[in-house]
Every structure is written in structure tokens, then in C-alpha cells.
Symmetry: C2
Subunit: 435 residues, 2 copies
């Protein structure tokens, strides 16, 4: 165990802790990457498919004859999948579906006033693109988490883009795509994939929204095409925040902290507790469990550089600090955890009690695992069915109903100096003559 530095333990007051955690969230813009991405987007807009094929050779070392993955390959991948994996994916899909069904919105109509109908209808986006990273970050679970809400929303065409791989696309990813009802998969990655989805090429139709995680090139490209299409949030490194007291098990807390730390060297694992003895026991357990993890190097970097334990005497202060952090994942391992749900103001997904270990939510409980990071849970929501619809308002007035409000509308319009607005209403009752 020698050589592994312990996770930091702070014993500071609330204001000091708030300053410390603020230092962890500073963002950086890399102008060199911005420029490279812009050049790639320009090429894809100019040269379409050919640009995608050229980039596949240059960046991925793959010579493509066809950008689209054949339908049969998805079917095959599903059929040949290991049985226990098949069962697990099906159970996950079932839970994700039953949870996200509850997010569906119906719109409304208000016909409570004479001569007036007002309402809002909810309409699915027509086409959505889902980016799936290549290599070891090609997660079948991410396909389910993105695709199922989109299909439940009623999206007509859901296409996946994923970097071409010399050894072919990950079979579990293809199988998950089949299971989730993805309509097509294209072998294209990086900023060029985002450009193709935003602007279209000969083979790939432009979409209305792009979702899914990716590296810095993908994230930068998503920001650059934002406005032409919608994007989901730009995901940062994974985070877990745990609130625990003496009733919690140090070994379990440590295991949960490490489960997020193994994602990324920049991941953050944070424990806030009112028990110094728990803090010390967890720190020790983290060291012990870290030793024989396959992704030890990654987890250790995250633990040493970006993680901490804070000891604070008051439960109210523990929540205050955690709400300031606004963690992606929040575990409440306090006696009577559910009672504290009301104190949670900012978090992506909350795990209540000892048996709601965070990885349960990554895969199987049903709530989404695409969550706001980097403090954006202050204003962002988990990915959901609501991300794949838009609302359209409507209104109808009878002549009598309009007559009743004519004066109010024209008064407001003229106050704002918008004479043509006033006259449009008045045209229903009088004819304006040009001079």
C-alpha cells in the first residue's frame, strides 16, 4: 500500500469549504482545439461523405467502403450475444422504459373562458443523433440511457454515430442499439460526426438534436453547432458526493467513491460526514481497495487530485455544502435517508440509503445516467423524455372575445410604440385606409 497518498480530509468551516470546492469547478477554453474543430466542420460542410471517409483514414486508421453499418450486423450482434449479458440488458431496458414512461407529457387545453381556447401541444423531435464513443468508452448502457427516452418521446429517426474501429464496432454496442430500437448506425467519430449530424451529408441526414458523451473534440463541436441544432449538456468528468454519518459502512462508502473515481483521472469523489472516525475509516478503506483495482492508475489520480472528505458537525451544513457542489450523483447514507430528500436542492440523481449503491443507477434502476456535471445540476436536469420533445402553444379567440380585449392590446402596443401591432387588431373591426 506504500506510495499511495490518502484522500484529503478537511475539517474547515462552511465558508472555507465553499471556497475550496469552488476551486474545483473552474472551466478552461482551449482555442487551439476550437480552431481545429471549426476547420473539420467546414470540411464536412464542403465535402460531405468524402470528408468523413478521409477523416476515418486519417484519425481512425480505417478505410471505409460504407459509412452505414448493415442492418444485419445489428441483428447478428444481438443474436450472438452472451445470454447473461442479453438478460441483463433486457432487464435494464425494461427498468429504464418503465421509469421514463412516467416522464411523458401530454400538453393541455384551457377552454374555461367564453370564446377562448388556449393550449399547448407536445410534439416529438423528428430526427435525433446519438454520439457513442469508441474503444473502451463504448458503453452499451449509454445507448440504452439515450435511445430509450428518445424513442418513448416519439422521435421518428434515431441514428447513432460512432468512430470506425479496425476490429469493427463493439458487439455489445450493436446489440444494445438493436434492443433500444436505433434506426441506423454510421461509422463516423469525432468533430466530423457532429458536423455530419448538424449539417447533413449525402448519406447522413441532418438531425434536430445531438446527444451523447464524447471527448473534447466532440464536446467542442457540439458547442459550435449549438443553435443550428439542439444539443444535450456538455458532460464533464463523473462525480459522486456522499453524505454519511456513523451509521454508514466505511467499506461500502469507499467502494462507491472508487466506482466513480475509476471513470476518469479528472473524476471527483467527495464524502461529507459529521463523523471523524468514519472519515478516517473511509480514507483507509479507499487505500486498501484501490490496490487491486484494474483501473487503479485512473482511480488513484482522481482520488489524489480531485477528491476529498470533509468533516462538518451539522447535518444542515453538510447539505448546504453539497448543494453548493451540486454533484452529478448524490448518495445519502444517513439514518432515515428518505427524510432528507427535501434538503436536496442541487443534484442529478439521488441514491437513498445503504443499498442504493451508485452503480445500480448507472445500469439498472431505471432513472437516467446522463446527468448534469460540474455544478450544472443547479440549473440542469437528467436526460429524459422531455429532452426529445418541444412544446407548441396555440390560441383561438372569437370575435366577441377579441372585442373585449381590443382596448387592452392596443393600449399596450401603443405604449411600446408598435402602431402596426395595434392596427392589426383593429383591422378585425375597422378598415384602415392608406393616406
Amino acid at each position: 500500500m506504500r506510495g499511495i497518498k490518502m484522500i484529503k480530509i478537511y475539517q474547515e468551516d462552511l465558508e472555507t469549504m465553499k471556497r475550496i470546492v469552488a476551486d474545483y469547478t473552474e472551466q478552461v477554453v482551449d482555442f487551439e482545439i476550437e480552431a481545429k474543430v471549426q476547420a473539420i466542420i467546414t470540411q464536412v460542410r464542403k465535402r460531405g461523405d468524402q470528408a468523413l471517409i478521409d477523416y476515418a483514414r486519417q484519425f481512425d486508421g480505417v478505410s471505409l467502403t460504407d459509412l452505414k453499418v448493415a442492418e444485419e450486423q445489428l441483428e447478428q450482434a444481438w443474436l450472438q450475444l452472451d445470454d447473461s449479458l442479453k438478460t441483463s440488458l433486457k432487464l435494464a431496458a425494461q427498468n429504464i422504459t418503465s421509469f421514463h414512461e412516467l416522464e411523458k407529457e401530454k400538453g393541455f387545453v384551457d377552454a374555461s373562458q367564453a370564446g377562448i381556447v388556449r393550449g399547448q401541444k407536445v410534439t416529438p423531435l423528428k430526427r435525433v443523433g446519438l454520439y457513442v464513443p469508441g474503444g473502451t468508452a463504448a458503453y452499451p448502457s449509454t445507448i440504452l440511457m439515450n435511445a430509450i427516452p428518445a424513442k418513448l418521446a416519439g422521435v421518428e429517426e434515431l441514428v447513432v454515430v460512432t468512430p470506425p474501429q479496425k476490429e469493427g464496432i463493439n458487439q455489445a454496442v450493436l446489440a444494445a442499439a438493436k434492443l433500444a430500437g436505433v434506426d441506423a448506425i454510421y461509422q463516423v467519430g469525432g468533430a466530423q460526426a457532429i458536423a455530419a449530424l448538424a449539417y447533413g451529408t449525402e448519406t447522413i441526414k441532418p438531425v434536430d438534436k445531438i446527444v451523447g458523451p464524447g471527448n473534447i473534440f466532440v464536446a467542442t463541436a457540439k458547442k459550435q453547432v449549438f443553435g443550428t441544432v439542439a444539443i444535450d449538456m456538455v458532460a464533464g468528468p463523473s462525480e459522486i458526493g456522499i453524505l454519511a454519518d456513523d451509521s454508514a459502512q466505511a467499506s461500502e462508502i469507499a467502494a462507491d467513491l472508487l466506482s466513480q473515481a475509476e471513470h476518469d483521472k479528472r473524476a471527483r469523489a467527495m464524502l461529507i460526514t459529521n463523523s471523524l472516525s468514519l472519515a478516517q475509516a473511509v480514507a483507509k478503506e479507499v487505500e486498501r481497495q484501490l490496490v487491486n483495482l484494474p483501473r487503479k492508475e485512473i482511480a488513484q489520480a482522481a482520488i489524489m487530485d480531485r477528491s476529498f472528505i470533509a468533516v462538518m458537525p451539522q447535518i444542515a451544513e453538510m447539505f448546504d455544502l453539497m448543494n453548493t457542489i451540486a454533484p452529478e450523483h448524490l448518495e445519502i447514507q444517513l439514518t432515515e435517508p428518505t427524510a432528507y430528500l427535501g434538503l436536496v436542492k442541487n443534484a442529478g440523481s439521488v441514491f437513498l440509503g445503504r443499498y442504493a449503491s451508485e452503480p445500480l443507477g448507472d445500469y439498472l434502476a431505471g432513472p437516467n445516467h446522463v446527468l448534469p456535471t460540474g455544478g450544472t445540476a443547479r440549473f440542469s436536469s437528467p436526460l429524459g423524455v422531455y429532452d426529445f420533445v418541444k412544446r407548441i402553444q396555440f390560441v383561438q379567440y372569437s370575435k366577441e372575445a377579441l372585442a373585449e380585449v381590443e382596448k387592452a392590446v392596443t393600449t399596450l402596443a401603443r405604449t411600446e410604440g408598435l402602431e402596426a401591432h395595434a392596427r392589426a387588431l383593429e383591422s378585425r373591426f375597422t378598415n384602415y385606409e392608406g393616406e
Copy 2:
């Protein structure tokens, strides 16, 4: 009437029309403005209030002693307001409130499976900033449309920023702010106001989301701080699309087209009709009504440069083209307008029938007037209560419920190469020993 060029009338097939309308939506990035805005943001982050006071002198020609507008000024503005304006604002606020009440979301809980509780709670954003332009674009209606949904959502602190004016802030704006329950108003405009809201200064607390319209500096600054805070859509020039047949009145259609054209030289007014005679009559009426409009110069530029009438024989094609345009405002002036609501796929707000003249929606009907422009109605919604809340998921499992899915979770985790994820779950049932 001589010298005014008629609105263009096209008689092309659907595909040609789709290409023509696509040319209207190209976006441009201005790097010089981007750099200026970045410099302003940096100054505000470094120098706080003093930077705001310096910019007020430099850009607005106003020497400020206090950034905050005194509470009493709002109260005074409301009390001294002209009675008919007071009545009109109150009626508008009442209708906006009753419509947006229907947008409130409650979250859900699913306790249908033994040992499992899953759900989602809806939580208001804590602090929101609303930008209100100065000069002639200071619209009291915009205050109501932004502030009322925010307050209904439960936002704790809603602050307005608006450029300092030599003659003082528009009294109608102050009165509307009072009526809508705005918590504070600060005299700061432009990119510096957005920077202050995003990062905070000595006087202005940082907010979670920034909403409201503004010029190119405001829009660029909003894009630059996006991610640190949430922003609403970046609004483009106003648009109206009208679908009409021979049952419509040319003078009324023309008046409605002009009501949007008077907003901005880059506004777009578009009529799609299956009647050539209506097309010609509307074109003539537009010319006639334009002549004596106070904002004639603006409206004329919008009509000549950016507007058109398209004649198409089939109703289905008329809707297809309009859905491609995805207009901010859509009027359906067809016989039996309501029956066509199902054909509307992309639009911000729909006005059904002869008496739902678009300006009714700008002020008084109740649905929001902050709407997606520039084709973004393909994927964006009107501003609503849902823009001022975020969702937080939660899940709780019993030991038995977790045991039942343990295998599925660990299978998926190990498939994805995330051993620590699997072990976190297993830690609830076995103790891992370090090697």
C-alpha cells in the same frame, strides 16, 4: 405609394421553395464582437462593480452612484401609471398567470415494485437574471412574459438588469417589474450585465440562469457564459408565417404581416396560400398599409428584403413548407382552422382563425411571447415555467431488491470494464480484502 417595392410572390414547386427558404436562415459569427465581449467579461470578473460603473459612463454616458434602483421607485412607477395602462397590464398579467399555471410540473414517484422506490422531484432554480433592453426596445410586456413564469416556478430571487438611461429607466418597465414581483433592478446593460449575472460582483449576486432579449453584444455574452449558467435561447429577428385560403381577408393578413415587419429590418413576414388572388390582394394591401406606419422604414426593409408570399396548390404542401420554416408565430387562416392543428409540427405559437391576430399573443392572450426563432422551433419550446425548474431523480432499494439485480448490474459493469462499479455493489454482500 410609388417607390415601395412589392413583397415577392413565388409560384414554385415544394422542393424549390424549400431551397429558397433555407437561404434565409444562414447564421453568421462575428469574431470581432466575440473578442470585444470576452474582454468585457474579463474586466467585470476582475474589477466587479467598478467595471460596471466605468462601462455605464463609457457606453451609456451615465454616471451612476448606485447600481441598484431603489425599491420606492418601482412602487412610485406603478402608482403613477396611467389608469388604462395599469388595467391593461393587470389583465395581461392575469392571463399570462392563468395560462402558465397549467405548465407547472409536480414530479412523480413510482412505488409499484417491492423494496423499490423511484421518482423525480421538480425544484425551482434559486436565482434568475432577466435582461431588459433600454431605449425604445424596453417593453413592459417582455417583463411580464419572462418574470411571471419564473415566479410561478418558485424562483427565490428574480433580478432585472437594464442599461442605465440619462432620462432614467422607462416608467412602464419599472411598473411592470413591480406588478410581476421582480425582486431587484440593477442599472447595467450590454455584455457587462451578462458577465455580472454569470459571475457576480460586490452588488450583484451570480444567478443560475439568464433570460431575456438583447442586442448582439448581449446575445454573444450569453453564449460565452453558457455552461457557467443556463441561458434561454438566443432570440433572432421576429417572424410570422401565415397559412391562408380564399376565406381570409387580405387587409387583415396584410396588417398581421406588417405587425411583425415593424419589429426589425431583419424580421420576416411570410404568407403561404393556395389562392393567387389572395396573394395579389395581400401584396397590394401591404403596400397600402405600409405608407402611413410610424415605423414604415423598418417594416418596408423587412418586407422587401426578408419576406415573401408563396402560392402552392395543395394544403398538405403548404404545411410541409411551413414546417420546414418552423416559424416563431404561425397563423392558420383557413376554413376550419382548428382541424389543422395536427399538421403543425414546428412552430412557436399558433394562432387559429380570423380573430387570433398575432399581436393578441404578444400582449394578452396568456401564452408566452418569448418563442424560438430562425427555425429553432424544430427543437425548442416557448419560454415557460419548465425553463425555471430542474428535475432531480431519486431511487431507494432494499437489500432484497438489490440482491435480485446484483448479477445483472455486475455483468453489465464488467462488460464495460468497470470493475470498481461491480465491486461497489458486491460490497453490500461480501467484504473485499486488499491483496
